[in-house]
Symmetry: C2
Subunit: 207 residues, 2 copies
């Protein structure tokens, strides 16, 4: 079974849309309807849902609730997963506010900064620690996923400690390519690259 990044991302998107539909009281949906909402082809939706092992019916399409459950079985970890966030600037705070409470199985549970004014506080229900305690705390809490929202000058150093502490996945907002072992999954999301790309296509597609 294919678990490419791009497919996983689509499936996560399907779920978010399905949850919205479920809350609106929708019971069933056809592949082309879900496809429209996600801006992919209906064949793509059918193929993806086939891969996760859920079957609809030609008459009624897919049952929203069952499909959500199948996606959860395919995607979600068995138990709740804690996430560490390093860097409590505007970006770090934004991420906590956006994220916590939005995902059933995932939660940011520990915050880190090097600024003494930002440690030993509670932000959005979450405790902040000095970055010197990073390794100890992620080990103690068995944290496998981390967000880096520190300036790029500090990012590699933070990554080294995270890897040392057993982290397996990193969401990196600093505009550098982190040097980590191949076994660590890294998703780079720096805003400079992204905005340059958007600007490029904004101009290029229209000349």
């Amino acid at each position: 079974m294919n678990r490419s990044e791009i497919k996983i991302e689509r499936i996560i998107t399907y779920r978010r849309i399905l949850l919205k539909l479920y809350n609106d009281g929708e019971k069933n949906i056809f592949s082309y309807q879900l496809a429209n909402k996600c801006q992919v082809s209906s064949a793509q939706v059918r193929r993806d849902l086939m891969d996760i092992g859920y079957s609809g019916s030609p008459a009624n399409g897919y049952e929203v609730q069952c499909l959500i459950k199948s996606i959860a079985e395919f995607i979600d970890p068995d138990k709740k997963q804690g996430i560490a966030l390093v860097g409590l600037g505007n970006l770090g705070r934004a991420i906590i506010d956006y994220f916590n409470g939005q995902s059933l199985k995932l939660e940011i549970v520990a915050l880190f900064d090097k600024n003494p004014n930002k440690i030993n506080r509670v932000i959005a229900g979450c405790h902040s620690y000095h970055i010197n305690d990073l390794k100890e705390i992620i080990i103690k809490n068995n944290i496998k996923t981390a967000v880096i929202s520190v300036p790029s000058t500090d990012a590699q150093q933070v990554a080294d400690v995270l890897v040392d502490g057993g982290i397996k996945g990193i969401l990196n907002y600093a505009p550098i390519i982190l040097n980590v072992p191949d076994s660590i999954y890294v998703q780079n999301r720096d805003m400079i690259t992204t905005l340059e790309k958007v600007s490029y296509f904004a101009n290029y597609n229209n000349k």
Copy 2:
């Protein structure tokens, strides 16, 4: 010539790394060295550079300065481009701080919010307006690229005004799929989807 999203993103990354090398006084670089720093294959680097029309030499590899210039010719707009940012929460402020001053041809030049306390101010050298003035100002300043960092409840409405005002590219941080015409380039970067994906691969790659 191929200008796929993924290639453009790589080329933008090459440039950022080359600029760093240039500042460090490096004159030349081989494809495999650049490849290592970007975590792609050397064949990929050579293919990408071939496509932008820059040639190196087998003896000395690529000249850093010339290559930066060639990339600029391939990627950059002819003149400076202004960018609008809508939504002045923590995320919006983080984006301004991260971005402005980092890109030669791009600059966030106008900020928008609906909260009266946040308008008519100057943040990082940039004026903030009420969102009611959004359309007028992007038209007057010929702005083609925008960032949406408002709550998801407001995002579609903002997108509609942006499209109405002639925007061609949108960087969307709200966790919804925007409904806009096909001719508009949209890059979705919501943190919930991203973090769910990172967590998935953190767990899945290691069991």
